[in-house]
Subunit: 217 residues, 2 copies
DNA sequence: CGCGATACAGAGATGCGATATTTGTATCAA
DNA sequence: TTGATACAAATATCGCATCTCTGTATCGCG
């Protein structure tokens, strides 16, 4: 293994990567079984200690079959991460789809995003058992990840009826980035004096400190 | 070397650690030479690859002398970090001492804090050459560091004339934590869409997005 | 044709002694 | 109080052998 890197996406633009995540091609039954097995192995033994053989055995298929779907080990990991990211985005989108105002989308997106990220099994498992591999992609090499989530939120904001009506003064990119940075920070360093234990607390805190960002400038 | 850890401060309270930093005993000439030499060695070769011998040779003193001032290798590192932290706090305090309002202190503290952190030689050097050692103390084990800076900012806010007058509605701890989390995030992941290139841009951005926090709730 | 199984070379990881360095303490003379 | 030296124990480092894994090719099979 040379890189363990799954965020080699640094070169492509954030919006291109986001599009790839949101419209990732549906794989067939075997493809899903491979991704499921890979995810399970990653959770059990980490990225480092998971071999393609382990995944194949868990999926009950031949190792060659995996190489027929995925160019190499790293791209398989990439595919697993893309799927998790898509699920993450779908959760947020589902929770904010019916909200008309920008402020509501912002607050609820933060609530659901933070909760989902905090509960994300793979993310949290990697942070605890393989921080040396995962931390860099959320910090010093976190530009791409940050940009993708930011662009997704921008998309969500711009899709709101209020935004479509055209009376929005805030800069969606900038506000989104602030929210994403705070969320990442809270996932990486959960110890906080902010009331963020329950969803209700998160909502109230976001209401108080983040909702006003809609009016900035 | 067993820990490389300098943030073993997890057990002591943040305010106690802050007091230790702000009122760290002034060392004599030799003590300063040791700290200077240690800092220089850390910058040149990193924490991992610097031995007590290296530091002694650079300081032009005997190795035993170092052990007479500092219990062990780790506490020497600790002392260097405490001194850097004190300088960092002093920079912020000096820049905001004459500012009467809470909002001004908040904005200028952010401007100076971000600039100073971005330019901090040791911090940036460690993040680039030894991320595996430094990243955890700003992320998964970043609670203590976060709390110390937060408590310092709270102290700064409460020292403002406006706060002393008693008409402050905001929760200083919570607002401070948001600022610190954003600052750390920006240092760890400099890639941003926010206008934060020059001091003027940082000030304007803080004015727009952070100053309103004073009025929260 | 896609799958599972097998074989294979090259790369990379792992384990393990031997060696060298470093740590922390003690002791000495200046 | 300092610098120099000595010392044992703990770590780090290195070389080397071994093993595992990756990625590709090739087979027979349903």
């Amino acid at each position: 293994m040379t890189s363990t890197s799954a965020a080699a996406a640094s070169s492509v633009s954030a919006s291109a990567l986001l599009a790839e995540i949101l419209h990732s091609p549906d794989t067939d039954g075997i493809g899903i079984r491979i991704l499921d097995a890979a995810l399970a192995e990653y959770l059990d033994h980490g990225l480092r200690r998971t071999s393609v053989d382990d995944i194949a055995r868990r999926a009950g298929i031949g190792r060659a079959t995996i190489y027929r779907r995925f160019p190499n080990r790293d791209e398989l990991l990439q595919a697993v991460l893309v799927r998790e990211a898509r699920r993450f985005f779908e959760d947020i989108a589902a929770a904010t789809a019916d909200l008309p105002t920008l402020a509501e989308r912002l607050v609820e997106g933060f609530v659901v995003g933070l909760r989902t990220a905090r509960q994300q099994p793979l993310l949290n498992r990697m942070l605890t058992i393989e921080p040396e591999a995962s931390l860099p992609f959320l910090t010093i090499h976190g530009g791409p990840a940050l940009a993708v989530v930011r662009e997704f939120l921008v998309q969500q904001y711009l899709a709101s009826p209020e935004a479509k009506a055209g009376n929005v003064r805030m800069n969606p990119e900038e506000v989104a980035e602030i929210l994403v940075r705070l969320s990442i920070s809270l996932v990486l360093t959960p110890e906080t004096c902010l009331p963020l234990r329950t969803d209700e607390e998160v909502r109230a805190t976001a209401q108080r400190y983040l909702a006003p960002l809609v009016l900035a400038r």
